[in-house]
Symmetry: C2
Subunit: 222 residues, 2 copies
């Protein structure tokens, strides 16, 4: 029996890699990557390609959005706003928040899923142990699933799944190791495309996850 198809949003970061490991066990996976003018766009695309090669995924789509970089308002898309050092105790939404970004990514995933008849979309959003982005919370994905229900062709059977949403980073690392996810191929740093900086929010969350999991991060840091 052929497996049901799923679209997996693969940014190239650790969370999306572990999500891909989960999704590929159950589904005929189609990998989607979105370049949106973020600082480390080229390095993330390289990580995407390596992860897709690792899982021997044939159905791939790489799309390019110019809206978010044109709009700016985030340290990730506006070169004039520096990426700050991590402050994991900080309250509120950090300057790395890209306004409403995940809706752009999911819109592409839903359009593709409708055309290739996928029944699920996987995204590696994390609410529990995260930077505090509003579009990484469960309540956002519940609202998005309602939008799919009313905004696609009648009869479409499709939902967004967020297997990591309630996991701490350390649990994500352990799950990744359990599933033999190629964490060495991933890229999480917000700042650099050569050696990960180790100091931005994304590096700091990742490093803390590996430390709490009691294992070494296989990528190199500056």
């Amino acid at each position: 029996m052929s497996r049901a198809r799923a679209v997996v949003l693969v940014s190239g970061g650790m969370d999306s890699c572990v999500t891909a490991a989960v999704a590929t066990r159950q589904h005929d996976a189609a990998f989607l990557h979105v370049s949106y003018g973020q600082r480390t766009e080229g390095r993330e695309l390289q990580a995407f390609t390596s992860i897709a090669d690792h899982y021997r995924v044939e159905k791939r789509l790489v799309v390019r959005l110019d809206a978010l970089a044109r709009i700016g308002g985030s340290a990730l898309t506006d070169a004039a706003i520096p990426v700050p050092d991590a402050d994991l105790g900080r309250q509120g939404v950090p300057v790395s928040y890209v306004p409403f970004r995940n809706t752009h990514l999911l819109a592409a995933a839903v359009s593709w899923a409708e055309v290739i008849a996928a029944e699920a979309i996987y995204i590696g959003a994390v609410e529990e142990d995260s930077s505090g982005y509003p579009d990484c919370r469960s309540v956002y994905y519940e609202a998005f699933n309602r939008l799919i229900e009313v905004g696609t062709r009648p009869g479409t059977r499709l939902e967004v799944r967020t297997p990591l949403i309630a996991m701490r980073k350390s649990a994500i690392v352990i799950l990744g190791l359990d599933l033999a996810a190629p964490l060495h191929l991933t890229w999480s740093c917000y700042r650099s495309e050569t050696l990960a900086c180790g100091a931005c929010d994304s590096c700091a969350l990742r490093l803390r996850g590996f430390a709490e999991a009691g294992t070494a991060d296989p990528i190199q840091y500056a």
Copy 2:
């Protein structure tokens, strides 16, 4: 007192032009146009520019999406699928439906609205007298407003408004005339960029609207 800012999605068609006429009376309007590889992309952008000039709108953003044309699945974005002649009695979703398109457009509008602190987004969606697209129904916009509520920065005050959603095309024509909307600058045809074909769904709905309103359409047809 300065007026509150609103983002207006202006495709260049009649419905978006009348929506712009409504929005500009109440708001400091910022006009957004999205090119997504649709057949008549160049002609629509020209109509957008003419309408923005007419309303002397300074704040304009034109963005380009490649996802929808890459994904295809619609007569508007896939050159291999012809745009059929109109069949206004048809049931179901027509082949001109671009899967989940309005979510892409609204995602750009919300990201921009967050950055420029707009309090409303206007879109000329029509449910009553339309082609039957799922993402042109009230229920979709209710779900989208919920998504904005949970997917943007806390404290964001922003909603999508659809002033035409329950209007027949003839009422939209009459409202446009009442508000002196520049209908002569608009472009609705799905097929042609020179003379409107008069035969596709979009032309047929428009022509029926003018006929029922008892007035002549100011644009030329083949």
